[in-house]
Symmetry: C2
Subunit: 188 residues, 2 copies
Amino acid sequence: MTSRDAILESALTLFDSRGYDAVGVQEIVETAGVTKPTLYHFFGSKNGLLETLIDENFVGLSQMLGEDAIYHGDLTLTLQKIVKGYFKFALENRRYYRFQLSLWFSPPESEAFQAVSAINEQQHAILEKVFIDAVANHGNMRGRHKVYAATFLGMINTYIGLALNGYVELSDQLVYQIVHQFMHGIFS
Amino acid sequence: MTSRDAILESALTLFDSRGYDAVGVQEIVETAGVTKPTLYHFFGSKNGLLETLIDENFVGLSQMLGEDAIYHGDLTLTLQKIVKGYFKFALENRRYYRFQLSLWFSPPESEAFQAVSAINEQQHAILEKVFIDAVANHGNMRGRHKVYAATFLGMINTYIGLALNGYVELSDQLVYQIVHQFMHGIFS
DNA sequence: AACCGAGTATACCGTTCGGTATATTATTTG
DNA sequence: CAAATAATATACCGAACGGTATACTCGGTT
């Protein structure tokens, strides 16, 4: 493993278990088996390390959304594909997704918030587009796409959080239940 | 305002906007207009300040749960009272609830997590009891009370988070919708 | 052979961290 | 009034913080 990857790996583990602010760069480089100038050579700053960490881990989720979050006439089906994609990504990147979850409601003026706001907006934008495209077929959704996107993502994250703590299993049945529950909440 | 209250007030504002780890005690006491030994006189440590802050702000929510989270034969009605209580509390303690939300998925080995785990368990215990008591009337809920409590709280927090960020309004209609949506997700 | 740039180590910078020893001032209590 | 207790200030502690100046190694290029 290269020094760069070792640093990213150690940073993810430490940030996930104790949080970004509570971990110092000294501990990161010691865990990675390198020295401080190496970290600053690759990432410029502690914040740059955080941004790189988030960006490079998020691409997988971003790719999934690019493929699955496209409305083709059947909203229920599209939402099921999205939920399934989130579940798959969360299970394959447990540490990262837990870390991303911990940043979900992070304080607005924290460094961590600045770093996740970009990927949050990206997710919202893609999900909103799904609901906007679906408006033609579901007239009573007009103007509510922002709320729907946020609510939908909120439900997904809630269940993933439950799963990451061992409360539930991310099964196909749960995918169906969540989408069903969400749709019911919208159209009643 | 007493020095003690000034410290708690400043700490809440700073923790809420930048996070517990990113704020130093020096900044807290400067904002409060006191000196460091005063803080240590009242709270013993920075962590003690955090615990006191959480405990003293949580009592309001705890009281509400003690009054409203009691199953009397009508589960839908009970859940509506609980959601209404959460909404009321969140609106009356916006800064605190936002801070509590930011600690919801905090890293398991962070100081903040240790401090909120107590109140999290308290909420879960009370909500679980509601679902256990309701089992007699809803046979198909047996053994699922832990999941239900976590899911229910997850939905409440999701919507409060949306409201605190201006996406939705915490209306009585939303109370009804959430409970309806939750019940539908359970019994289908 | 000379050079170059990427990667890395040693040793250090000034600042801030959480926390405290000591002393002084108010405030209560006997 | 005197004694005790609570509340506060000055000044400081060692450790850790994020970050860097400098120099060295080393594989590839000219």
